[in-house]
Each structure stands twice: as C-alpha cells, then as structure tokens.
Amino acid sequence: MLDASEGYTTEDGRKIGGVVMEMKNITLRFGGVVAIKDISFDIREGEIRAIIGPNGAGKSSMLNVISGFYNPQEGQVFYKGDLRPPMKPYQVARQGIARTFQNIALFDGMSVLDNIMTGRIRQMEAGLFAQAIWKGKAEREEVENREAVEKIIDFLEIQHIRKTPVGRLPYGLKKRVELARALAAEPSILLLDEPMAGMNVEEKEDMSRFILDVNDEFGTTIALIEHDMGVVMDLSDRVVVMDYGKKIGDGTPDEVRSNQAVIDAYLGVAHD
C-alpha cells in the first residue's frame, strides 16, 4: 500500500531515504468550509519538504493535521508505514513529531533552558513516584538530558541567554528557542510553521543556515511552511504547492517553478 522503496541522492550528495510519512486523500472541513480538499503527498526520510501557497491556501491546516491538532474528516495518515488512528496532539508528539508555531508558543515564564528541557519529555521515562523522591533513575535521566540540551544550545548559538526568561527575549531569538525545543525531542519529523515570518534579512539568513545545518548534521526530516519564495526554493528538496485547499503542484523547486498552475496561483489568474 505504501511505496517506501529506495530513496534518491540529492545534487549536493545527501542521501534521501524512503517514505516516513504519507498523507492520503486528506479532506478537512470546518462546518461548511473546506480547508483541505483531497490532498495526497509524502515526506521522505532526511529531506526538507516545503508546503507553499498563497494566504488561506490551507498550509497551516495541513501542518495541524500532521501534528494531530486537527483530525481530518476523510483520508488516512501513514506514519513509518503504519496507518495512524485519530490521535491527540500530545500522543503525536510522543511518536516523534515535533513542531513550532506561526505565532511562537513558548513558556514565557520559564528560562530558555527549562523551555528546551520540556522538549525532552519523550526521552524521560522515570515515573511520578521516582521523581517525587528524585533518586537513582530520575536523577540520572535529568543529568543525561541536560547534557543533550546543552549540545543543542551550543549548536543554535544561544548559550548567552540560557538562564533568561523567554518572555524577555526579542522575536528572532524566541523563534530560535522554539526551534531548539522542537529539536530537543530528537524528532523523526520536524514541522516548522513559517520559521522566518516577521524576521529581517539577517535573521532570515541565520534561520536558513540553522535549518540546513540541522538537516545536515542530525539528518532530521523537516517539513516547513514558508511565504518567502526565495528562501523556500533555496532550502527545500521537494515542494508541495497548495491553493484554495487543493494541491496544484508537487516536485522539485525547478519543476514547481515552471508549473503553469503554480504561476497562475501566485500571479493571480481569474479562477473559473
């Protein structure tokens, strides 16, 4: 049922694996409004997959379907070859799908370090009772996970703000902390909802570099939504284009760029 066959090698020599997630005929409705209409696409292991489209195309809804915040009325989600039943968002997260939000959802009252530590919940197994007395396993876990978090902090160059409460940080740094928290989960798929929205040119360059580095260094599969076409074309291996809840294009950046339906959607041709 699933073509999880051999992958391919990109121009810059990265190995892309088999299909890790497949969306099949997804339809999502809010009352009478159809947000996503019969969309299918897949995400391969190790690739950077972009979802683009004009405002209101249903990109964020799609990301919310993948991360379990919305359950589609029709269609199936296959994760690592298995059909995924309807799930709560926290269950999806525990399966190894981490995400960031368009409007940043961080724990403002907590320090940067604590924020990123919450991302490690999947890796920490000590029960409530063990923690209440904080002995043995719980203590060892805390130390191990703390080390992993410190590595991510180094990687994203946010050492200088480790102890700062997140609420006090500027926008660009908040975005980076949110990425760090998602990364801390060592996700098999990382979902980024407009990681560069509202950033200036310099911050955008930084963020692009981090996204590429994360993919390169850890081999993390990344699915992202982005408005900035230049950024998307530079970053991604394959692109899905959505318009009015429908898929109008799917392929490499070059294929998509020369697709007439995509050009029409972006330049604005009368819809019949």
Binding site: Y90, A93, A98, A105, M124, A126, Q131, W134
Partner: protein
C-alpha cells in the same frame, strides 16, 4: 527584660505558628491557580473532607452508614477495626487522588477555555457538593483526630526561656510540628516544581496549553496531578487543624482566612503564600495583644481582611505576585 516585651515575643512566636497553618491552606490555592488558572474555592472543604476521611478510616467507620441504616433499617456504624495512623494517611492520599481524577473527569475537563468566573463558580459548586458528600459519607458529628502528634506545652522551650529571662514561653508542641512539616512540604513542592520532568510540565501547562501539547504533555494528566497535590496539601492542613480544634464542618471556613493571605502574598507565588500566612498570623496576634484591649477584643476576626485591603490599595498584585503589564 521588661515583662511586656517578653509577652510580645511569645505572642510573636505563637503568631508565626498560627501563620504556618494559614499558609498551608493558601498553598493549596496557589498550586491549582498556578497550573490551571482556577481559583479553587473548595480548597478549605477539601481539607475538611480529607480530615473526615482520615478519621473515618482510622476509626473503622462504615461509609454512608446513616444512609444505609435509614434505607435498610440496619444498625451498622463501625467495622470494628482500627487502622494505624500512617496507613490511614496513605489510604486518605489514595482517596484524594481518586477525588482529583473525578473532579477533572466530570467537571474541569469539560470547562477548558471557559472564562475564569465560570471555573470559579464550578469550584463553589464543588465546595458545596463535597461538604454534603462528606456529611452523608462520614456523619456530621464533631470528631476527635489524633494521629499521634504530640500536643500541649513544650517543656524544653518553657524551661530554657525560664532560665534565660525568668519567664517561660508557652509554645504548643503541635504548632512546632506543624511548622516543621509545613517547611518540609514547601521545600519538597518547590524542588518538585523546579527540577523534575512533571514539575516542569506543570509550569509549562500553566504557561501555554498549545505549546505544552506540542511537546507531548497530556493536559488531563497534569491537571489530575495538580489536584492531587492540592489534595495532599489539604490532608496536611486537615490533620493540623483537625488535631487542634476537632474535625468539624466549620473547618471549611478556614478557606476564607486563606483569602487575605493570598491577597497579601500574591496568587501565583508559593513563597508568597508562606510569607503572607506568616505576616497575617503574626500581625493578627500582635494587633490583638497591643490594641485588642482598647477595641474591646476579637480583632483577630477582621484584622487579616483590613490588612489585605490596605495591601490591595498599594500593590494589587500582592507582595510577591507577578506584575501584570498590558501592552497597548
């Protein structure tokens, strides 16, 4: 040393001890408010319910015996066994966790994203329900609670102070124990909240539901956990107050004494609840001692509220609360 000063010191110390008990009740409020934004009016009744359950288990009382006797015409009251205090406390903890689960499952799970005032009303309902439920389950008579905590004047302190100042301080052993246990409880709670996975998850849920879900935190689990913690605090408060003045339904009114403590300390601060409790405990005892005579006594009934009112005028967020700044 002048006698007046010595009396003042004794009153001060006793005030500190009374303050610890206020702080204990306030602590239960702060825990739930911090993690779920619910002002839990039923915290006092939870303490009462915990104390009733503890006595009931220790004495081997048959739950709902009045109801059973009325319906079936039987004459049962007790199983005829006595449960040791420690085992009874553990069983009461189990009951409080069960209560936490029921409260979340049947009430607050359905009220997610509702206005705070609606959640507050729900806790008022819960308070009245629990009070009635405790009554049906364990009976309305005043019960004696004795879990083996020492009571009465502390001989050592009396002797030492007598040798030092020529006047022996009266400090109740129970108050000393209450202080000691409260300190342990607070240290434990703070460590748990700051340095454990679930403590962090608790703070995360308090901060942002969506973000908490996205990192794999189950909101329902955290809410049950928080209500259970508040239940444990209620057990401790119930034991202390119950031992001091007997387990009776007026115990639920101590919740009202916690309100000024919270206004003073701030609704979101655990240290604030402690300091607020101590200030009010000491304040009302010293005020009664110095001015009580002039005003015809009984100032303890209103002093805490007046103090809270004054704090509200100058620092609406309390002494330790987070300052709320609205950006325009």
């Amino acid at each position: 040393m002048p006698e007046q000063l010595l009396w003042g010191m004794e009153v001060f110390l006793n005030g500190l001890m009374a303050g610890v008990l206020y702080a204990l009740v306030a602590l239960g409020f702060v825990l739930i408010f911090k993690a779920s934004g619910i002002f839990n009016f039923s915290q006092g009744v939870m303490a009462l319910f915990a104390a009733l359950t503890l006595v009931g288990i220790m004495e081997g009382q048959v739950p709902f015996s009045h109801l059973i006797n009325a319906v079936f015409g039987t004459e049962i009251h007790h199983f005829g066994w006595h449960v040791p205090a420690l085992a009874a406390i553990l069983l009461t903890m189990v009951v409080m966790v069960l209560l936490a689960w029921l409260v979340n499952h049947f009430i607050f799970r359905h009220l997610v994203n509702q206005e705070p005032i609606i959640l507050f009303m729900a806790t008022i309902g819960l308070a009245y329900f629990l009070e009635g439920f405790g009554d049906i389950m364990w009976g309305a008579d005043i019960k004696k609670l004795d879990v083996g905590l020492p009571q009465g004047i502390n001989g050592t302190i009396d002797e030492v102070t007598y040798n030092l100042f020529g006047y022996g301080f009266f400090i109740d052993n129970l108050d000393l124990w209450a202080t000691f246990i409260a300190i342990l409880l607070v240290i434990g709670l703070v460590l748990f909240a700051q340095y454990s996975k679930h403590g962090r998850a608790m703070r995360a849920v308090a901060d942002d539901h969506q973000a908490a879900l996205s990192v794999g935190i189950s909101l329902n689990f955290i809410w049950v956990m928080v209500w259970s913690l508040a239940g444990f605090v209620a057990i401790v408060a119930g034991i202390m107050w119950g031992t001091k003045s007997g387990v009776q339904f007026s115990l639920s009114l101590i919740a009202l004494k916690a309100l000024p403590v919270l206004m003073l300390g701030g609704f979101t601060s655990i240290p604030g609840a402690i300091v607020g409790g101590l200030i009010i405990g000491v304040g009302e005892k010293l005020f009664e001692f110095t001015f009580g005579g002039m005003m015809g006594g009984a100032t303890e009934n209103w002093f805490a509220y007046v103090l809270a009112l004054i704090v509200l005028v100058f620092r609406p967020q309390g002494l330790f609360g987070e300052k709320i700044i609205e950006r325009v």
